[in-house]
Symmetry: C2
């Protein structure tokens, strides 16, 4: 081996995630990335390839962490409805505390839609995974009588994913904590028995 790199790859990637989430792929220039990541130009290209590769890696990592956090929040609670509430509110609190002010996944969808296969592969995968987890949890809740018996679990899962997206857009647009909590409260009515 030889000279080790002077920066931490993971923290640099984390900073890239924040920058891309805030300004999108097209709105982020390489100088912006260099300043945010606090690394030199050549280090970026050596370590992450080109700008697009870095974006895809950032999107993949963000998606993994974000869905992981959401789903583990949902499964952490014994009561199904409360778990879903925590899953939805988890992002809200992060957004308002400034920890994760914007969602890179939502930004990727609105920026590229379905036009770029490699981006879509990531957004589709995270959507699919989230839907399966939501649906499974909804089925449990229906069986246990904690949720409405006539609820369609598949449609319900899709509804929850859309609600999460709507929450993220609202938060990005400057909605207050009260407004976001109110949204969650009404959304849960759709599932309740």
């Amino acid at each position: 081996m030889a000279r080790p790199r002077e920066f931490d790859r993971d923290t640099a990637l984390q900073r890239a995630i924040e920058t891309f989430a805030a300004h999108g792929f097209e709105g982020t220039s390489t100088p912006m990335l260099l300043e945010a990541m606090k690394i030199g130009r050549q280090s970026l290209y050596d370590t992450f390839g080109d700008k697009r590769s870095l974006y895809l890696e950032a999107l993949r990592r963000y998606s993994e962490e974000s869905t992981g956090a959401t789903l583990s929040a949902m499964f952490a609670s014994d009561r199904v409805l409360q778990g879903i509430e925590h899953a939805l509110l988890g992002f809200v609190d992060d957004a308002l505390s400034g920890a994760a002010p914007a969602c890179l996944g939502i930004h990727a969808i609105t920026e590229f839609g379905t036009s770029q296969p490699d981006v879509r592969a990531v957004t589709d995968a995270v959507g699919h995974r989230t839907l399966l987890a939501f649906e499974s949890r909804l089925r449990d809740g229906i069986e246990r009588g904690e949720l409405a018996a006539d609820l369609d679990a598949s449609a319900g899962a899709q509804f929850l994913l859309a609600t999460l997206s709507g929450l993220k857009v609202a938060a990005r647009g400057g909605a207050s904590q009260a407004a976001l909590h109110g949204i969650v409260g009404v959304a849960l009515r759709a599932l309740s028995p």
Copy 2:
């Protein structure tokens, strides 16, 4: 007077709206605009100012038309719940038919958040207007017994706006018509008595 312009200002603006909605502000270059709008470079700058002015005018006009269509769809039906259903599905059908494949308003929020006052002024205004209309309609429905008596109209309005945003994101991400209709169906459960 003198030489009249050879293009129609409104149709050129409409094409700019589609281009900005598809690629965002940063992702749209002036050559892309010229080709989509089918006008010359100088015509663009003479007629619309610079790129940013054109974007703001496009955003304003899109917002006006889009909220107008949504709200008139809602008020067109006598039954409150059905009106809300039509309002939510109106965009869905437009999106799937390719008439309005993407929402410029959502794109503006995800791209800029609250960082640019002139953009935010537009997104805030359309949000406010939509919320007021939703809330008023929800109150009517509650009074008439068509909606749940214990529903918070203000929170319900915010919920509907978030649901609409979620639908638009889902449609942009490639969701099927069945999935989008399913989302609307579940969402309406939250309002029903």
